[in-house]
Subunit: 254 residues, 2 copies
């Protein structure tokens, strides 16, 4: 369920055929999600599209108009299938060309004669964009309007996130408290529903698990989220009482 | 890039606050992607939204109108945060109620007195939907129009996919051939671009990697995809020659 809106909203656009074919399991979405949560930025949606200009432009134009921040990953390398910069320029209806600073950084990176036409593609950014530093492999990302365009290689993407952290708007940090209990979801469900009604501003989620370990191979993790620490603690204590009455031995997870 | 359309198109809608908060890394998107590719079903988009009815309804109504198949995962359990069935009914503008067969299956699963109101929620499906078998934990998914509504628990989701495999429309299988080479992307990029122009119906992707192992810590995996085995082999041989000329020792990956 939706928490009361306290911070900026965000969306992630993951770009790459390799995700849709199943060849690569995306990890960037989760990395960005875990990065945004402590900043109080409210991630509302993740989309994955292929290396297809029309799909990127259309997704980006929806997401940048419906969320305060958009993060894209993938498609900013030197090869023909790296079309993100052009697609972003098209979405914003601006031109694109070599960014002098990006060009200089990349030119300095390669031995003489090796800064070829394809590598120069990595210096192309939409007009009006500012650069996002790449402390790992030099080729920068960029920032235009409310959109941050980041690399697809996870190590590089992560370094870029760190590079932009200080400039992002923030909300109140959403706190999270997890109780694990040896209880079937269906046994605690009515109690959880009551608790949710009593605490409408706390997001309560229930996640069943199955494990091989006996004697109790199943249970549920019950997650409470709110930016109000006091309300969170009250709700957690109420839930603990409820679970104890069911003999479910709740444990707070760290 | 987009391959020539040969089979049905598909989209995945992953539903769950826990993915957007970063608490859980989604694996269902990748599992479904790897399931669809050999069937020749062309996955065009993955979206992740939270446990918010409006977000689910709106995403589902876009996806089901723009793709031949839609697969949702998550939100069909017994707890208050499981709202997928209601959201799907709303998206299709149909009523929702207990499905007699689902109700009977679930009633038989629980000891007397334990099939409570919340567990009965798992028997609610939109009017007109047919059931998707759940060989793991009984509670079924369902199928309405072009939308398959599957569980969020990966083990259950996977079993449901197997259960529906035989009834899905298929396209020609897309074959994939990967060459790994000790070459910087920027060195091969111009050649790749030429190859792409020569083989416009083959999707050519380039994925750089960085590894700790010396003497060559970086390289690229070059992926060729097509449903035309002969064209794929021709393109692969051309690419191998190109890489050998660069001294890059290409290896076919299995």
């Amino acid at each position: 369920m939706a928490l009361p809106q306290n911070g900026p909203t965000a969306a992630i656009l993951v770009i790459g055929d390799e995700i849709l074919s199943g060849r690569t399991a995306d990890t960037n979405g989760n990395t960005i999600a875990r990065f945004l949560t402590p900043l109080g930025i409210d991630l509302k949606e993740i989309r994955v599209v292929g290396d297809v200009e029309e799909a990127i432009v259309s997704a980006l134009n929806v997401l940048r108009r419906t969320h305060e921040l958009v993060f894209t990953t993938g498609g900013i390398g030197p090869t023909h299938d790296d079309i993100t910069a052009d697609a972003v320029a098209k979405a914003f209806d601006v031109g694109i060309g070599y960014h002098p600073q990006a060009y200089a950084l990349l030119e300095a990176r390669y031995p003489p004669g090796q800064f070829n036409e394809m590598r120069k593609r990595m210096a192309r950014v939409p007009f009006g964009a500012s650069l996002v530093a790449n402390p790992v492999s030099v080729a920068p990302g960029f920032h235009i309007g409310n959109v941050y365009v980041l690399a697809g290689v996870p190590m590089v993407m992560q370094a870029m996130l760190e590079a932009i952290a200080a400039e992002l708007p923030r909300g109140q940090k959403v706190l999270s408290l997890t109780l694990e209990a040896n209880v079937a979801e269906g046994t605690i469900a009515a109690g959880l529903q009551q608790l949710q009604k009593a605490y409408p501003d706390i997001a309560i989620g229930s996640y069943p698990f199955y494990r091989e370990a006996l004697p109790q191979p199943f249970g549920a993790q019950l997650v409470l989220r709110s930016s109000d620490a006091k309300a969170l603690e009250c709700a957690a204590e109420a839930l603990e009482r409820m679970l104890q009455e069911l003999g479910a031995a709740p444990q707070r997870m760290i």
